[in-house]
Amino acid sequence: MAQSKPVITLVCERAADLNSLLDSKGNLAEMPDVHVVKFPCSGMIQPLMIEAALKAGAGGVIVCGCQIGDCYYREGNKMIRDRLLGERPPGLKKATDRRRIMALWLSRMQKQRFIAESKEFIYRVQALDIQEGISAGNKASANPAPTVAAKPAVTAPTAAPVVDSSSTSTPTAATTSAPAAAKPTIRPPTTATTPATEKSSSTPEAESDKTSST
């Protein structure tokens, strides 16, 4: 994975225990393109941080909290899950490419699971890069895409942010029915750096009546 883009992992320090997997710079020793930022709770992760990572050129962002139901601070992982799904403000901007975000809910002991899922995710993200590179750059070339198309097939089902997986591989109901994910994600791949709706910089869709006094 030499040419791959960096991937940022935002992880709760009580979830999958990655300490033994890190090098001195806080990257995964096995995959130095993956940088790990630890939080006291996954509930502290701001959607803004994910957007910033993608905007700065990260290929993808992995969010990792504890098993849903087992947040040490009671609700943190549910909060960030709901924010990613657009069910709780503040959420992700519409233009954010959800396919480049994966959320995992893993208990302290599930670091192997973390590695396996991350590898798969990186592979998907790389496929996206290739796909986008081609659709953006080869207008002139006579080559149609088929050669590459064989691989990216993997990406198709992951249009929604992958906010699934408890320790069993079945996505939870909340995942598959992610209502908010439906609108923005099906759009053709936009790059993460699309300027999009920058001005309204993430005003939560909540009651803004309190700010109306201006």
Binding site: V37, P40, A58
Partner: protein, 400 residues
């Protein structure tokens, strides 16, 4: 739990031993939970509803208790009123044998009580082993200990109410235990028996204690929940069905029966121990009353002050801080804070906004959920400012 092996060298062996024990206990707890997750997925893992389980059984107890109450007669005898003996024991027999499903309701009430105690212990052990009981959670812990003691005592009074030979023996054992107490012993005994000896008034007192304390539980539960936002008090329906199913299985497989009617002139001396509620009577009959009271009191006191006995296992809590100039008063952090640590107060004069978030320091867990909730960068954990996180992310993403 973060590794609790960060002890300074001057730690004594007791503390190290304790930390070691909790470390192992925590790992075992996690391993069990992982196993259950594999079997039934995290959504239905009963250990993730550890607080909701006793609460669920409490509702079952209230409901079945209400039905029993309709027919229960809290007296020893009515010899002065009629020839047909109507008393607590016969009314329980009547409920069990003559009222349709009376025996089932009685069984449900008994076994739901047992299950509640079982799940309270499970709940308490889980919050203990996973280090969820100290610091900003002390109110939950202390009110929890009170809840446990109350539930145990309520259960015991339930056993007196049946008024069979076991009830009589337990009542007498309680009286002699109370008599052994200096100074407060005599008044406690008079309160317990509602007089000097066992009379009809004694049973009405037992009934009053049983029901009155049950309602008092609701008040203590309010204390238990008051600092938690959205406490999880209902398990998912599927779990409820299983819980009721197990209960009914026990009810039909092991129906409840009473012993012989209590006779004040007899001296019953053996009884069947219900290990959920009556273990302290077992202890009582295996040690001197002085040892019994001292050890019971010590156990209760140690359980209560446990959150303060254990220190320095994890880093101190550094509360979140609001950046007053940035806060828009949107209340998102207030809604999402899991420990009710954020209060919205009127914004200072001259502000463009109506409200301002403030952190109630003793309640704050330093979890950072408010940081995740704030879209205005207006609340921060001093030890991990989100600006630092953002620049770390950007640096790495851009360097490649």
């Amino acid at each position: 739990m973060t590794s609790s092996v960060q002890n300074e060298s001057n730690d004594n062996w007791l503390k190290q031993g304790y930390n070691h024990f909790i470390d192992i206990a925590n790992k075992i707890t996690l391993a069990i939970e992982d196993g259950i997750n594999i079997a039934v997925t995290s959504k239905y893992n009963p250990l993730y509803y550890h607080g909701a389980l006793p609460q669920f059984y409490l509702w079952v107890l209230f409901l079945s208790g209400l039905l029993l109450f309709a027919y229960y007669v809290p007296t020893i005898d009515n010899a002065y009123l009629s020839n047909r003996l109507i008393n607590a024991w016969t009314s329980v027999q009547y409920i069990t044998n003559s009222i349709p499903f009376g025996g089932v309701i009685r069984g449900i009430h008994r076994y739901a009580g047992d299950a509640m105690v079982l799940f309270i212990f499970l709940h308490a052990i889980r919050v203990w082993f996973t280090d969820r009981y100290r610091q900003y959670r002390w109110i939950q812990w202390v009110s929890g200990v009170v809840l446990l003691l109350m539930v145990l005592f309520i259960g015991q009074t339930g056993y007196y109410l049946v008024w069979d030979e076991r009830s009589l023996l337990l009542t007498r054992m309680t009286v002699s235990a109370l008599e052994a107490l200096p100074i407060i012993g005599a008044p406690l005994k008079a309160w317990f028996l509602n007089g000097d000896t066992i009379t009809n008034l004694t049973l009405s007192n037992f009934l009053f204690i049983h029901i009155g304390l049950s309602f008092a539980l609701l008040f203590v539960l309010w204390l238990h929940y008051v600092r938690m936002t959205r406490p999880v008090i209902t398990p998912p329906p599927a779990v409820n069905f299983v819980l009721v199913g197990i209960l009914l299985l026990a009810v039909f497989l092991v129906p409840i029966t009473s012993g012989k009617m209590a006779d004040l002139n007899s001296q019953p001396n053996t009884y069947e121990v219900d290990w959920f509620f009556l273990f302290n009577y077992w202890l009582m009959s295996h040690m001197s009353l002085a040892v019994f009271w001292v050890s019971m009191t010590a156990a209760a006191v140690i359980a209560t002050i446990l959150p303060w006995l254990v220190k320095n296992v994890s880093p101190p809590v550094i509360p979140a801080e609001v950046v007053i100039s940035k806060c828009t008063g949107c209340s998102l952090c207030y809604r999402d804070c899991p420990y009710q640590a954020i209060e919205m107060v009127p914004a200072p004069a001259g502000s463009r906004f109506k409200l301002l978030a403030t952190v109630n320091i003793p309640r704050c867990s330093s979890c950072g959920i408010c940081v995740g909730a704030c879209a205005f960068d207006a609340i921060d954990l001093p030890q991990l400012p989100d600006a630092n996180v953002l620049s770390e992310i950007k640096t790495f993403a851009e360097a490649k």
